[in-house]
Symmetry: C2
Subunit: 333 residues, 2 copies
C-alpha cells in the first residue's frame, strides 16, 4: 500500500508557493509491535500551521525540513500490530499530518464516534478550533452575561464558535467577517447580534455603530488594522484575547504592532495570548459540553470540505484569502 | 496676598513650548465658609501630566484651556474659614495644581507628617508615583519570589520604587535607565541586580545578558522600542504592566505599536494597563507599609528638586529628556 505525503521542502518567505512542499508517494512500511495504521479521512487546515513552518522560537517546535507537514486529522484504524490503544475499525483523531495514511502508537490520539457527530466536526468544532474558542472566550475572555463581545475571523472555525458560545452565555455578539454572504450567515444562521463586513465597510465605523458603549471582550484572530480599530473601543476592564493574527502570518516585513495599545492603559484593559494546548487536561469536559450544545441546536458547525492531498497548498491558502465558508477541511480518503 | 499660577493656554502638539502655559499673578480672593488657603511647598512633576493636556478621551477629564495646570502638591494650611477638615499649620497633600497657593475644601486631600518623612516624599515615594509602583508591581505584576523583573524608567519616581519593592519580595531585578550615573545608582544605592544603560548600549543585548532565561514581569514606563525589545524575552505566563509610555507622550506622528506583541500569544503572556486611581481605597495601607520599609532602610527615595514656579516648563520637560535624578519636584514656596 502507498502513502502520499506533503513534506515541508523549504521554509517559505511570505506566502507558501509551489516549492514549499513536496508531494511524495512511497510504499507504507510494515508495522512494528504497538503500532497502528490509520487511513486518514480529513485533514484540518488552520492558520496556526503557517507559524509552525517558521524556524523561530514558538510554543511548539517548528516542522523540520523533510518532515510531513503537521496537521490535525481524523481517520480510521485499518491495521494494528500487537497491543495497541485502539482497535481496527475505530475512528480516531490526532496529529496525523498532511498524508493519506499515518502510522502511530496513539499518543495524543482520541477515539471519536461518527454516529455522534460528523467526522469533520472532530477536527473543527469538537477539535482544536473548537477547544480554542471554548477556553479562549470562557477562561481568557471571562465573559459574563450582558458583555459586549467583538470577534474577528467570525465566520471561521474558531470565531464562529467563540460567537455562539458568547451568545449561549448571554452576551451581545458582533462579528467581523469578509463579504456579505459570511455576514448574513453570522446573523441568520448563528444568531449574532451584528456583523461588520471588513471587505466592504469601515471596521471602525462598524464597531462604533454596533457597539456604541464600547467592547468588553475582543477576541482577535486577525491582528493588523482590525486589532487597532478594536482597541479604540475598549471599555473599562476590557479583555483582549490574542488567539492569532491571520493578517500577519505571511508578512514579509515586520509585523504591524497595535498602535492603539495605550488604550489598555486608559481603560485598565488586558491583552493576553493563549495557546489551546495549555488546556489539554480539560478537553474532555469541553467536548462533552460542546457536543451537548450541538445536539440542542445551540451550537452550529459548518465545514468547507475540499478534496485531494494534491490540492493541499491551494486549499490551505484559502485561510489567508478568506475564500472559504466555515472550518476548512481537506478530504484525502 | 498674591497667587502665581501656570494656566494651560493652548493644547500642545508634540513638546510643550513657551505658548503652552501662561504664568499669571493675581490677588488671592477671600475664603468662603469651609475653605482653606494652602501655601504650596512642592509640586509633583509627572509624565502623566502630559496626557491630561490632550483633548482626547482618557481616564480623567483633560485640563481645560484657562485652567490651572493639574498637579499633585504638598503644602501647609495657612488660613481657614469656618469648619474645615484641616487646621492652620497642618501639612496636607492633594491636587493643588501648578500655583503658589491653593484654595480648597479638602476633597481628596490627606494630612501628612513632616517629621515622619520629608515633605517631597509625600508626592513621591509615598504619593502617586509610589502608589503606582506599589499596586502596579504587586497587584498587576503579581510578583513572587524568584521572578525575573525588568523595569524601564528605572531611576525615575515610579521605576525606582517598583524595583525596590520587587527586591523586597525576593525577585531578581534589572533596571533600564539612561546614563552611567543612573545605572550605578540602581545597583549601588537601590540594590538592583543589573542595569542597562539605554543611552549607551543595546537594550536587546542587555536583556539577553542580564536575563538569560527571560523575563517574568516587565514593568513599562516608556513604551516604544524598549517595550518591543522586552517583549522578545517574555517567559511563559509573563506579565507586562503598562504604566506609561514616556517615549510616546510628545509624539506628533502615530504612536509606535509594539511589533513583537505576538510574543504574548506564544508565551501565553498578558499585557495590562493600570491607573493608580483605581486603588484609592487602599492607599492608606500601602503608605503605611511603604513608610515602614523606608524607616527600615529597605526603600530609598531620591528627589530632584528645582525651584520657582516660573521654571515649571523647563523643569517639566526634564521628564522626557531624562535629565533628572529621581523624583522630579518643583519647590514654589
Amino acid at each position: 500500500m502507498e502513502n502520499k505525503q506533503q513534506l515541508l521542502a523549504k521554509r517559505p518567505v511570505g506566502v507558501p508557493d509551489e516549492t514549499t512542499w513536496n508531494l511524495t508517494t512511497s510504499p507504507l512500511r510494515s508495522l512494528e509491535e504497538g503500532e497502528m495504521l490509520v487511513e486518514q479521512h480529513y485533514i484540518s487546515l488552520d492558520p496556526a500551521m503557517r507559524g509552525w513552518m517558521n524556524e523561530s522560537r514558538s510554543y511548539i517546535p517548528p516542522v523540520q525540513i523533510g518532515e510531513v507537514m503537521r496537521a490535525g486529522t481524523v481517520g480510521k484504524v485499518i491495521q494494528t500490530e500487537g497491543k495497541t490503544p485502539f482497535a481496527v475499525g475505530d475512528f480516531i483523531t490526532g496529529w496525523g499530518g498532511v498524508q493519506t495514511h499515518a502510522i502511530t502508537r496513539g499518543e495524543q490520539y482520541y477515539k471519536v464516534d461518527p454516529n455522534y457527530a460528523p467526522l469533520p466536526a472532530y477536527i473543527g468544532t469538537l477539535g482544536m478550533p473548537g477547544m480554542t474558542a471554548y477556553f479562549g472566550i470562557l477562561r481568557e475572555g471571562q465573559i459574563k452575561e450582558g458583555d459586549v463581545v467583538l470577534v474577528s475571523g467570525a465566520a471561521g472555525a474558531v470565531g464562529s464558535v467563540v460567537g455562539q458560545i458568547a451568545k449561549i452565555k448571554g452576551c451581545r455578539v458582533i462579528g467581523i467577517a469578509g463579504g456579505a454572504e459570511k455576514c448574513a450567515y453570522l446573523i441568520d444562521e448563528l444568531g449574532f447580534d451584528g456583523a461588520i463586513d471588513y471587505k466592504n465597510e469601515s471596521v471602525k465605523k462598524g464597531i462604533k455603530t454596533h457597539c456604541p458603549k464600547g467592547i468588553d471582550v475582543y477576541f482577535d484572530n486577525v491582528g493588523g488594522e482590525i486589532l487597532d480599530d478594536a482597541l479604540i473601543f475598549l471599555r473599562k476592564n476590557a479583555r483582549v484575547v490574542i488567539c492569532g493574527a491571520i493578517s500577519q502570518y505571511n508578512a514579509t516585513s515586520a509585523v504591524e504592532g497595535p498602535k492603539n495599545y495605550l488604550s489598555l492603559l486608559v481603560n485598565r484593559a488586558s491583552m493576553k495570548g493563549m495557546v489551546v494546548l495549555d488546556y489539554a487536561q480539560d478537553y474532555g469536559h469541553a467536548m462533552r459540553e460542546m457536543a451537548g450544545w450541538m445536539q440542542e441546536g445551540k451550537l452550529k458547525s459548518r465545514e468547507d470540505v475540499y478534496e485531494g492531498i494534491e490540492n493541499f497548498r491551494d486549499t490551505f491558502l484559502r485561510l489567508f484569502s478568506g475564500d472559504k465558508n466555515g472550518k476548512l477541511v481537506l478530504k484525502v480518503n
